[in-house]
Symmetry: C2
Subunit: 321 residues, 2 copies
């Protein structure tokens, strides 16, 4: 028990753990207390990452800390929420000071980058896993949900797709690549950048939004169901990174963009009238299709041929091994 109590010091000492700015009471009591600004609602998301399932049993703890928080913060971006705070439930087989220090550094670096402050959690003994719960504020009625897409809207994404899935062979040491490719793809896998600024800019503009964690096709399917619309994707419009295309070739890169997971960029539907304004603000907005009446998701090529893949969706890390 004692050594697990001590672990809290690694996190409690972080600058991000202090009270202030919406955090009325931080780590150390039975509960933390958040002061939500008047007129705002609180957005909440919980994600668990299990060793051997969501990340390799042996990996750099600094990178793991970064990635774990980024994945959760991406859900705040998808709602258009302003980041506020998070809790960490950390289960560890044993106490390893070097591991904990590196993990806490990675976590704290991402926390500072996202303006998220650690307000509490739990530390227990058991097989390695992490559960993070993130909190953000959004003006009442302005949260971006999945259910408002309208026929005629544009279907957009916030950045290059497929890099998360494209990095997996490198993460798993199944393939090697040139240093520049390795560096670019591994950075996308281990340090995804939650699109918090973009999400907040979409308030009152986007009619639906989510972050791509299961792959563009599967996640667009969620919008299609929730909004009762059909989403039509233009294959040639998919934004692809140079690293992914060079590593995989164009065809496989497009497959990764459509069906790979772990991208953590936003997908959203947008009335065309807002496009110029968002781009003028310097935001990354790629139009990849449009919303139509109907159901489901389809992919077309530039000739108008239906090229929707037969299989879709995300492979768990474990399933890809």
């Amino acid at each position: 028990m004692g050594e697990f109590e001590l672990i809290r010091n690694y996190f409690a000492a972080a600058p991000c753990a202090q009270a202030g700015d919406g955090v009325a009471l931080g780590i150390g009591d039975d509960c933390a207390l958040l002061a939500v600004p008047p007129g705002d609602q609180l957005a909440i998301s919980t994600d668990t990452l299990v060793a051997g399932v969501h990340f390799p049993d042996v990996c750099d703890p600094f990178l793991l800390g970064q990635r774990a928080l980024a994945v959760s913060a991406s859900d705040l971006a998808a709602m258009g929420a302003t980041p506020l705070a998070f809790t960490l439930a950390l289960t560890l087989p044993s106490v390893d000071a070097d591991w904990l220090q590196a993990f806490a550094r990675g976590l704290n670096q991402m926390a500072l980058g996202c303006a998220l402050r650690l307000i509490g959690g739990d530390t227990t003994r058991g097989p390695l896993s992490l559960t993070l719960t993130v909190f953000g504020c959004v003006p009442a009625g302005q949260a971006l949900t999945r259910s408002g897409a309208q026929p005629g809207d544009l279907l957009c994404v916030g950045g290059a797709l497929g890099d998360g899935a494209g990095a997996l062979p490198l993460v798993l040491n199944q393939r090697t690549a040139e240093a520049s490719i390795t560096q670019a793809l591994l950075a996308r896998y281990w340090s995804p950048q939650p699109q918090l600024i973009l999400g907040q800019a979409l308030r009152g503009k986007a009619t639906s939004a989510l972050d791509i964690s299961d792959g563009l096709l599967a996640d667009c399917g969620h919008i299609a169901v929730a909004s009762n619309v059909r989403l039509s994707i233009l294959r040639e419009a998919l934004p692809l990174s140079a690293a992914l295309t060079e590593f995989f070739g164009l065809e496989s890169a497009r497959e990764a963009a459509l069906s790979g997971g772990d991208d953590y960029v936003l997908a959203f539907t947008l009335p065309a009238v807002h496009l110029a304004e968002l781009r003028a603000a310097g935001l990354s907005v790629h139009v990849v299709g449009r919303v139509e009446a109907g159901q489901g998701v389809a992919v077309f090529d530039a000739d108008g041929q239906d090229v929707t893949p037969q299989t879709r969706g995300y492979q768990h890390f474990r399933e890809s091994q």
Copy 2:
């Protein structure tokens, strides 16, 4: 992936998962949305329970569901918060429909009893563990913390102590007892009743509070440090259940009351002026000692002899095996 998606249906179908009363958006989007009443703060607590560490690898999933939520809700009681909602992160080695149904029934029953609604979570594959995060509301400035105890206050508890630890030999099948004793102690272990009404009644009256999870001595130590006071406990005043005394004998029952964990009753400090009012309201308040100037925690017998145990604090479930 598919079958783990389906698991959500066990929980999403629960009556407690619908929107309304502070829950602006429930299960199914990137985030849930809570509407915190104006003037209130949001109390948040996270607890992880790991199979083989916090509960037996093989146990009744209905009871596990009940206990898991009760343990977390007890932290809301300790802050004087009004329950609002919770998230569940469930990690399972495989999908077992019978297990899930029973677990969901136990969880939902406790959720209804506590007026907590499931608003989201995550379901992943891995070694069995649960992380629950609970949310409650409390008027700004009225949360019960650990840091306000004043010399002269009474030290009180909300009910009988030691039953949680007393139940462990039964939970672990290390001992047997008469049916009436077994029933009483196992009920305290598997279905602790979070003292939510008491906690809310203590707002503006108690100067400090927490729920007893690590044992009275260890938890009073937390108040002593946070409030910079000394807590003096009268051994003969410890409330003990008939089942515990009969099972353990008086001396061991007192040891369990002082040093056992898992009681989940409130311990709090109270200016004497409020005692009659709380009791008149029908609340369970047992005076077990007083707050003095100084540091630390001490136990005295009726003759004024210092009988503070040498060892104190909680045994993990695993450590007791």
